[in-house]
């Protein structure tokens, strides 16, 4: 699983945009973003005619949205940015804030368009390149993302937003070692007071350590993240993945329950439902699936949605392949990133269109991504087409990475049979 996919509501690559922002007072108990909200409100009170206070408030709310995973903060951020824009139309800082909010809203195409315009206006601005990376990664335009990330690294060598984005691209391009190298460099460069940023980077480091086969180290990094930022939803999810890899299924479910409580979004509910099912809590799992379907369907046409999970739910659980394909096609029109392609391929395969599925998943794999579920899906698709050598190769790659137990069992079974 990729860190970005986990990052629902706010693409986590957006993290660290503000690492250089005002350092919070030491010893305070509220979160950095909550403190920034309060500071911005004071600034507005002092100078209500100035745009800067409103812009700071918008950024603080957007950041709070990531901390809490509560999208209601985006509505507040949008209101604040409108107030700022009214006071200073066209201001660069405010335009940047708009792009950030659009990204948080998962309006990736609109965000990219605005970021490109800003880049032409101020080509030295490292963060604008960061937005271009984020939008392009989400849309699946990896070449443009890579170019923008390289400009970040060149313009300001060692800048944390550039390092984290380059790290994520390295992972997508199939180089988790290289990703870990850059993510560790980012961690070393963070301000001690920026606890949420540190927790976020630690969570990414843990994810990479797990992929690289060091669950113990991953666990330690996550414990550190949770001590920095208690109940941090990203870290809880990371720890759940470690527990799943360790086959400690009850603990996995308990962690994902906590995560869902902290970040109650449909895709997190889907993860929880799967975990409950694996832990043998069938009734609770059933309720969770039902609620997931209702909520995910309700937001399926919006930009910020759980369509990927909904596709897998329809294929793997509800056995409604036509519904899966309908949702997958819609999402695939919006974005062509590797994970959307994976879901679309899986839906095509479930509808008997395995040739099209193979072509789709090969385009995802060509990016270089080494995701166990993607390999598993590729194996099943190849197997369905009778291409046994390809299937074997995909299954072997999947099994070298952490897989959920039932997926691992199916992959082993196919591998042993040497055919469907």
């Amino acid at each position: 699983v990729s860190p970005l996919r986990r990052g629902r509501r706010v693409a986590p690559a957006l993290a660290l945009l503000l690492v250089a922002a005002d350092a919070p007072e030491p010893g305070a108990v509220v979160s950095p973003a909550a403190r920034s909200v309060a500071a911005a409100q004071q600034a507005i009170e002092a100078r209500p005619d100035h745009a800067a206070g409103y812009n700071a408030l918008a950024m603080a709310y957007a950041r709070r949205a990531r901390e809490t995973s509560d999208t209601a903060f985006y509505a507040k951020a949008e209101q604040a940015v409108e107030q700022a824009s009214r006071r200073a139309p066209g201001d660069l800082e405010i335009e940047r804030t708009r792009v950030w909010i659009l990204l948080g809203r998962h309006e990736f195409a609109a965000a990219r368009e605005r970021a490109r315009a800003l880049q032409r206006r101020v080509p030295d601005d490292v963060l604008v390149y960061g937005y271009l990376v984020d939008a392009n990664v989400e849309l699946g335009s990896y070449a443009e993302a890579e170019e923008a990330a390289q400009w970040m690294l060149d313009l300001r060598p060692g800048n944390v937003p550039g390092l984290t984005r380059a790290a994520y691209l390295r992972e997508l391009f199939g180089d988790p070692d290289g990703a870990l190298e850059l993510m560790s460099q980012s961690y070393d460069r963070l301000q001690p007071a920026e606890v949420e940023d540190r927790a976020w980077v630690l969570t990414q480091i843990a994810h990479l350590l797990l992929v690289l086969g060091s669950p113990g180290d991953a666990e330690r990094a996550l414990e550190q993240a949770l001590s920095l930022h208690p109940d941090y939803h990203y870290a809880l999810a990371g720890l759940a993945r470690v527990r799943l890899a360790q086959r400690r299924l009850d603990e996995t479910a308990a962690l994902l329950r906590r995560r869902y409580d902290a970040a109650p979004h449909p895709e997190n509910l889907y993860d929880l439902a799967l975990a409950l099912e694996r832990a043998g809590a069938s009734e609770e799992a059933e309720r969770a699936y039902t609620r997931f379907e209702k909520e995910a369907s309700a937001e399926s046409e919006g930009a910020d949605n759980a369509n990927r999970e909904l596709v897998f739910y329809y294929v793997d659980r509800a056995r409604r392949p036509e519904d899966a394909l309908r949702v997958a096609e819609r999402e695939r029109q919006r974005r062509q990133d590797v994970f959307t392609r994976d879901a679309y391929a899986w839906a095509l395969h479930a509808n008997g269109r395995s040739e099209a599925a193979r072509s789709e998943i090969q385009q995802a794999l060509a990016v270089g991504v080494r995701d166990p579920l993607l390999f598993y899906h590729a194996g099943m698709i190849a197997s369905g087409l009778g291409d046994l050598p390809a299937a074997r190769s995909h299954f072997e790659k999947a099994l070298a990475l952490p897989l959920p137990p039932e997926v691992e069992a199916r992959a082993r079974e196919h591998l042993a049979r040497g055919g469907p």
Binding site: G90, D124, Q150, L153, D154, R156, P157, R170
Partner: protein
């Protein structure tokens, strides 16, 4: 409501230029550069020169010079100013009008510390000084304490010694340029002072003639550039700006102080036959469409790349460009502060993205405004500036493919060099076809020429509103260098000595000796 006003103008690109430049930039050559380069002094390119060699017997060659590391105070020990071994220094030449490099000269340096126990990197006097009879143990009387005067690169007192390698890349093939006898190239050190070293002897020993009529040089020299820098950066508060009288314009005398006087710079120079640079391999006549080349220089440092190389050894081979320079005016004078870093790190072939800066220069609007309209300027787009940023007359021959808009120093290699005695500091504008903006010689007054070019009416036919005697006589009043240039390769002057350097202050009598002669205040 000042803040509202400035926010509003940010919306209009044309106005960004006029508001942004006077307060954030200047119009010197690149002695102060884009924001990030300003933080990387070693990689900061001050000047690039390219000209047909005017030394005796060398007129079929071109000299290319790259200067870095601005405003070096000659007495600034104990380490002085080595080249940076991490930096890849390059001079690049386009010879087929596409703004891409066809011939590249690369320079990499290595530093040795030969006297690691000494507290400064250079030391010497006379024939050396030994410990006297009362020298406390463990140093026995008679032990050499201070080395002899340095006048050779092998001398003991040259504690910090830099050697360098030169590579020519042409047609994708990299060929090392080396001494016939295999001896290394040494960089000339800073001029510490007369007791320590015979700087001139080291300078002369640092000129390396190679096979194939190529010569190379690297070292700390006089900064060949001159300008009233302080006046220029005080929002054009120079003592003579804007308009020089005909007499002031004609004399080779300084009417204002040369702010760069008494400072050194690190210079890399190479002289090569014209036939090595043109795409035909011939010396073309000036009317030939193959005669004009485009020159620029870059400094680069190792970088982190998004994709790691599959070969670990090659991962360290990637460089990020820190700085580039073609014309002496473009980045400093025209490019907006919010674009300077991207400009510095991008390739000339991509300069179309900066075309609005080139063709509606904010500087022209500033001069127009500061003089209350007395200095008229043409309306944009300023197509009269195209010869500086594309290939075209009066520099390149008619019929030369213009190529993309790109900041290259364009040199028509067919134009014979002007003998120094009859050369004009105003180059092309002074009726001297072998001077800036047709290439750039060390003694070309690029400040005055650039100012007149940007304000307009001098390169192309005068525009409506142009008044002779105003736009064509702008200048800062600094007309000559403070010290003499060599009249042969590398054409640069001796670095001022750390012991006796002199910076000429505003109000002081300036250098009045003029080109070619010793300058004594």
């Amino acid at each position: 409501m000042r803040s509202r006003r400035s926010l509003a103008v940010v919306l209009v690109p044309g106005l960004v230029l006029s508001v942004g430049i006077p307060f954030r930039s200047g119009w010197a050559a690149n002695h102060r550069e884009a924001p990030i380069t300003a933080l990387d002094h070693k990689a900061d390119i001050t000047d690039v020169y390219a000209f047909r060699s005017y030394g005796a017997g060398d007129s079929t060659k071109v000299t290319l010079i790259l200067c870095v590391d601005p405003l070096l105070e000659p007495g600034n020990g104990p380490n002085w100013f080595p080249f940076d071994p991490d930096i890849l220094y390059e001079i690049k030449v386009d010879n087929d009008n596409d703004a891409l490099a066809d011939v590249v000269f690369q320079f990499r340096f290595q530093t040795e510390q030969r006297l690691p126990g000494l507290f400064q990197v250079y030391a010497g006097t006379g024939t050396g000084v030994s410990a006297p009879s009362n020298s406390p143990p463990p140093i026995a009387p008679g032990t050499l304490i201070v080395p002899p005067l340095i006048n050779d690169f092998d001398d003991l007192g040259l504690g910090q010694r830099q050697r360098y390698r030169v590579t020519m890349v042409k047609g994708g093939v990299a060929a090392p340029l080396a001494n016939a006898n295999g001896a290394p190239f040494f960089a000339v050190p800073a001029n510490v002072g007369p007791r320590t070293m015979d700087y001139t002897a080291l300078f002369n020993a640092g000129i390396y003639p190679l096979a194939n009529d190529i010569s190379v040089f690297a070292g700390t020299t006089d900064d060949a550039f001159w300008i009233d820098l302080g006046g220029a950066f005080d929002t054009f508060n120079t003592s003579k700006l804007p308009v020089l009288s005909p007499a002031e314009d004609a004399v080779l005398v300084n009417l204002a102080s040369d702010s760069v006087s008494g400072y050194a710079v690190n210079a890399i120079a190479i002289e090569v036959p014209i036939t090595l640079l043109t795409r035909t391999g011939n010396i073309e006549p000036p009317s030939s469409t193959a005669a004009t080349i485009g020159v620029w220089a870059t400094t680069s440092r190792p970088r982190t790349t998004v994709r790691r190389s599959p070969l670990p050894a090659a991962s360290s081979g990637a460089f990020r460009q820190v700085q580039r320079m073609g014309n002496p005016l473009i980045n400093e004078l025209l490019v907006g502060t919010g674009s300077k870093d991207r400009f510095s790190m991008d390739q000339p072939a991509n300069d179309a993205q900066f075309a609005s800066y080139f063709l509606d220069p904010g500087l022209a609007r500033v001069v127009n405004a500061l003089t209350g309209g007395a200095v008229a300027i043409p309306s944009p787009p300023r197509l009269d500036l195209l010869p500086v940023v594309t290939y075209g007359p009066p520099i390149a021959a008619t019929g030369t493919p213009t190529g993309p808009i790109a900041d290259l120093l364009r040199l028509n290699t067919g134009v014979a060099p002007t003998p120094p005695a009859s050369a004009s500091r105003l180059g092309l504008l002074g009726g001297d076809p072998a001077g800036f903006p047709n290439g750039r010689r060390v003694f070309d007054d690029v400040t005055d020429v650039a100012l007149r070019l940007v304000v307009g009416g001098v390169l192309a036919a005068p525009f409506p509103g142009f008044t002779p005697g105003i736009g064509d006589r702008l200048g800062d009043g600094v007309n000559v260098n403070d010290t003499a240039y060599r009249t042969d390769f590398p054409y640069l002057g001796d670095a001022p000595s750390g012991r006796s350097r002199r910076h000429i202050d505003p109000g002081e009598p300036g250098c009045t000796a003029g080109f070619g002669a010793a300058c004594l205040p």
